[in-house]
Symmetry: C2
Subunit: 170 residues, 2 copies
């Protein structure tokens, strides 16, 4: 089971954007610089987060990204689903129905026990992720910081945050 690298990048970007001014924006290039990742690759993830209405995107040279809703209203599950899609991790090809002398479909009217158990476990995973918001992540990060990490973030924002003077619509 693998999550794409984009999940880490997406969660960190969204968490970082919780620290913006209400009228602030940060460009994809600035976020890519902050986290030392490829801009073009990150852009794909930021666009997925915008499509999921987690981020609000403003286009153009003065454009950038900010949260589309409160940090408490964005869970880790929201971010993972935005990047990875909502499909289950377990792929059921119904191989129990194949092979020689297959029985008619009516013999398999109940869902396969394997699928039921695998999806139950995925639900437990999703339930845990849904419990944690990016506000929680930001608060936990601040609680473990003696001030240096926050100061570095603030210095970065002073250089890279764009002020729009309003909450522009995307």
């Amino acid at each position: 089971m693998k999550l794409s690298e984009g999940v880490e990048q997406a969660v960190h970007c969204v968490t970082f954007l919780t620290g913006l001014s209400p009228d602030g924006l940060v460009s994809a290039a600035s976020l890519a610089e902050l986290f030392g990742v490829s801009t073009s690759y990150l852009l794909k993830h930021l666009q997925a987060l915008s499509r999921a209405e987690i981020l609000e995107a403003t286009l153009g040279p003065k454009g950038g990204y900010r949260l589309a809703r409160s940090a408490a209203g964005v869970s880790l599950l929201d971010v993972v689903v935005a990047i990875e899609g909502a499909s289950p991790a377990f792929r059921c090809a119904e191989i129990r129905r194949r092979g020689p002398n297959p029985l008619p479909a009516r013999y398999f009217s109940n869902p396969c026990e394997v699928k039921v158990a695998m999806l139950r476990a995925e639900q437990a995973y999703r339930t845990e992720l849904a419990k944690v918001s990016v506000a929680d992540i930001a608060a936990a990060a601040m609680a473990g910081d003696d001030g240096a990490i926050a100061a570095r973030g603030c210095a970065f924002l002073q250089l890279n945050e764009k002020k729009t003077g309003n909450r522009a619509s995307s």
Copy 2:
């Protein structure tokens, strides 16, 4: 997040092998026929299950596979880990430490809150999978069967099960 198709094949094969005679074996080719999948592809998964000591493999033209331990002692988690590996699904590249003016490593002595939350959710997933054995899966399948599915399995075993007369070591 994706699991490989091999997980479904592996769980069904191991569950099917719970129905063998104590001295029975089924070849990879027979299991591939039963589930309508490629033998060479399935063989890779059967070998992984053998390495994980879930199956016992007997080599040679009279060889095949059977459970290496009791069906109650093989959990879905055992099978998933055998096929997918034990690495976490979440990949942490520590991007919080990158970018301009990186802080010294001592500022990041605590594990990243993102990683902690992601791995906590994975633990919930694994805990659920560990609760279910292939004996449970086989029992649930039998409970939902009016006899036709079991009869088809028995007919298949009559044609394809090899009897060794003993519990050979692998």
